[in-house]
Amino acid sequence: MLALIYFIVLAIIAVGSAVCVLLSRHPLYGALSLVLSMVSLAGIYGLLGSPFLGVVQVMVYAGAIMMLLTFVIMVLNGARDSKTPMFDKVSVFVIPAVLVLAGLVGFALVRSPIAFDAATVRGSVSITSKTLFDVAQTGPGYFVLFEVLGVLLLSAMGAAVLLAKKRLGSVDTEKTEDNH
């Protein structure tokens, strides 16, 4: 019963802040609402019995990614443009379409017989790390995948640096500098 109350509170915060993202005019407000939504999702993870995942969500998503996003928004001064309307014809078309889609999927979900299993494993740090790094275990191993993911992150970092750095000596760069 208590879990349900917690869940309802967290769900209301999450959905509410998601709607704030949709309706906010300045990207910075949107980003802050998004952080709130993510933190409440992390709470729901903990509620569901995956505390490790919840911590990762707070650290990586709400911490790193959103910090990066906020940082970029603040660096690019012109991010807020009052000329661009918030919604246009496409939005009028998209919102009902997405609602219909959600309705259909929700209909399918409601009819499906799913329920929590009593013998489920709590996603603690020890279990997660054992699953990830124990090469000798019989089940599917994630070790190689984990390493590949590390390489992917490294290359993404390299690509980001290459993309975003200023082209030294290029005329365009100089001009852009002046305009700002």
Binding site: V90, L101, L104
Partner: protein
């Protein structure tokens, strides 16, 4: 013991080296040093000849077989890269490399000062390589490799002076006409493979296969198939050896340098057809229909070309037609299953024809490029050595007693008379019963008549060129000079060959060396047909007839041309009027049978098929355009709209899954 693969390796090395020199020096103005290039060019064929000679001296009776490596090895088809050195390839190789070396030596003098000096010798070496592969290989496919190689070199060398459009056209003609024959060769090989699998392409295997058929009395089963294969191979041979109907390229091939004409179009390449017939002797021996076709074609070719030779004014064209005529003799011999006699004639013919061509080259060299016989005359005093060589070779080709041609040509005529079993079947002619006619004497008479005509046109050539008085312009007369030593030495050696080569098989005086060495290869094939021989005539009678023909022809030539007033030379050396009709008989036949139908077909393709295709193409294009334009109208500038549309698509999919319960 020398390995067999060394023999083709030397000219190949020479070709690569000289080709590299030619390519490197193509930029420089002066070109490579001629002495160095000439020495290299002669060295490699000479090394090849040396190894052949060493091998030939101690060849075992059964020959040497050597498999170099695996060539093609796929399921159902397996061919080895193997060489076979036996009696037949020994003789062919000896004169291919020997005469090749001599002619290369001659070329160093003849091509002196030419811009493409190194290129020329690279081609010559490539040609020798291909010819050696052709002769030395132990299976049909490898022979075909050499067969194509000599065709390619023939093309390259005919069009050697490629600044002149006419030379290029002659080269194209030779190449294309040869292609027609090559298709016959390929289809023939396919026929054989269909009958006996890829193993049968090996000559030994083919011989065993034929022997097995004969022993097992299965002739009725395979002879129809083998006849088809035999005819196809024969078509290949007519292309390479310039027989009816694929002979029009050889006279045009005289556009190349004269040593090339001597080497390729007289001594070696054109004999590869005869070589192939002899190589497949065991197969042809059991195919009487094909043998009769070969005999008739050979007879017609010999006679027609001899008459055409009478009408030519160009000294090289006379020799070209005489080559065709002599090749006709060889095919006649093959047609009566006398393969050893035909190879013997190939052997002697190589000597005297090469000598004749080289002599003609020396004459052309002396007259600074003049080829029209009507502008020559009286050269006997000015160029005595050349004249003597030419006259010896002339005596050899007409079959003067004691000279090379006498032994080989009379042998062929004798074999035609004794071996030929062809007969016209009995038929009813206007109600009268005509009995079956034996054709051997008729064919013999045609052969003899051809010998007479040969003597006439060769006599005409000698008389017009070397006797009488000089008919060219005064200033050109002063420049006439004897050829340099590098040209004279090969000519003199070949003249010796022309005189003495016949004594390898002088039947009348009991020397049978040549027949013995060929016996392991073609002996069984000839023995198979020898049972048909019923007539026994004293060989001296044939010798007498042959001598009579030669002397008669020479007498006629003397009577007609010695004191005749030669018509003044006009602009072109080509024959005119009725003579042209006869000379270009097969060119016009080709025109009406081959070229015009193809042109009509091409016109139909151009006008009708092309339009239909264009319409179909246009229709498909229009449909694609309409579809594309329709699809493009959905494509809008905004990515978001596209995503929105895809969401709608997703909705449709989910709806379908839900409605059908996921069982669709």
């Amino acid at each position: 013991m020398i390995s067999l693969w060394l023999i083709p390796l030397f000219p190949l090395l020479g070709c690569i080296l000289l080709g590299a020199i030619a390519v490197i020096s193509s930029g420089s103005r002066k070109g490579p040093a001629e002495g160095f290039v000439g020495a290299l060019a002669v060295l490699f064929p000479a090394l090849s000849f040396l190894s052949v000679a060493l091998l030939a001296l101690d060849m075992p009776e059964a020959g040497i077989r050597e498999t170099l490596c695996n060539w093609i090895d796929i399921p159902m088809f397996r061919v080895e890269f193997g060489f076979l050195f036996d009696g037949l390839s020994r003789i062919m190789l000896l004169f291919v490399t020997g005469i090749g070396t001599l002619i290369t030596l001659y070329s160093t003098g003849y091509m002196h000062g030419d811009r493409g000096f190194a290129r020329y010798f690279a081609y010559i070496n490539l040609f020798l390589f291909s010819m050696i592969v052709l002769v030395l290989s132990d299976n049909l496919l490898l022979t075909f490799l050499g067969w194509e190689g000599v065709g390619l070199c023939s093309y390259l060398l005919i069009g050697f002076w490629n600044k002149d459009l006419k030379n290029c056209q002659a080269a194209n003609k030779a190449f294309i006409v040869n292609r027609v024959g090559d298709i016959g060769f390929i289809l023939g090989m396919l026929c054989l493979v269909t009958i006996g699998g890829s193993a049968i392409l090996n000559y030994d295997a083919l011989m065993n296969f034929i022997q097995m058929i004969i022993n097992g009395n299965h002739l009725d089963l395979v002879v129809p198939f083998l006849s088809v294969a035999g005819i196809l191979f024969f078509i290949g041979c007519t292309g390479k050896s310039a027989q009816i109907p694929l002979l029009t390229w050889l006279p045009d091939a005289m556009a190349g340098p004269t040593p090339v004409s001597a080497l390729i179009h007289a001594a070696t390449m054109v004999t590869s057809g005869v070589y192939l017939l002899a190589r497949l002797a065991s197969m042809f021996a059991i195919l009487p229909v094909v043998l009769n076709i070969i005999l008739i074609i050979g007879m017609l070719t010999a006679f027609w070309a001899a008459v055409a030779g009478l009408f030519q004014n160009d000294i090289k064209k006379v020799l070209a037609y005489s080559t065709i005529s002599q090749l006709g003799y060889m095919f006649m011999a093959s047609g009566v299953c006398a393969f050893d006699a035909s190879i013997f004639h190939v052997f002697t013919h190589a000597f005297f024809k090469a000598a004749l061509f080289l002599g003609a080259g020396a004459v052309i060299h002396a007259l600074a490029g003049e080829q029209d016989m009507r502008k020559m005359g009286g050269l006997l005093k000015k160029t005595p050595v050349t004249s003597c060589v030419m006259i010896f070779a002339f005596l050899a080709i007409v079959g003067f007693p004691g000279f090379a041609g006498f032994w080989s040509k009379d042998l062929i005529l004798e074999r035609i008379y004794t071996n030929c079993t062809m007969a016209l079947p009995a038929f009813t002619f206007f109600g009268a019963e005509v009995p079956s006619i034996q054709l051997n004497s008729i064919i013999y008479m045609v052969g003899l008549a051809t010998a007479v005509i040969t003597a006439v046109y060769m006599g005409r050539l000698i008389i017009l060129t070397f006797f009488g008085s000089y008919r060219g312009s005064k200033e050109s007369e002063e420049h006439i000079h004897e050829a340099p030593a590098s040209m004279l030495i090969p000519m003199v050696i070949l003249a010796f060959g022309a005189v003495f080569a016949g004594y390898f098989w002088a039947d009348s005086i009991g020397i049978k060396f040549f027949a013995d060495t060929l016996a392991p290869v073609v002996g069984s094939a000839q023995a198979y047909n020898a049972s048909a021989v019923t007539i026994h005539v004293n060989p001296m009678v044939f010798a007498a007839f042959g001598t009579l023909a030669a002397l008669g022809g020479m007498f006629i030539a003397y009577k007609i041309y010695a004191n005749a007033r030669i018509p003044a030379a006009k602009g072109s050396s080509a024959p005119e009027g009725r003579k042209a009709t006869w000379t270009f008989l097969f060119d016009s036949i080709h025109k009406y049978v081959g070229i015009i139908p193809v042109n009509v077909l091409a016109w139909i393709c151009d006008v009708v098929v092309d339009k239909i295709l264009a319409a179909a193409q246009w229709t498909i294009g229009a449909i694609a355009t309409i579809l594309g334009d329709g699809a493009a109208s959905f494509q809008v500038r905004k990515v978001r709209v596209q995503v929105a549309l895809s969401i709608v698509g997703l909705i449709a999919l989910v709806a379908i899954v839900l409605l059908t319960g996921g069982t669709l």
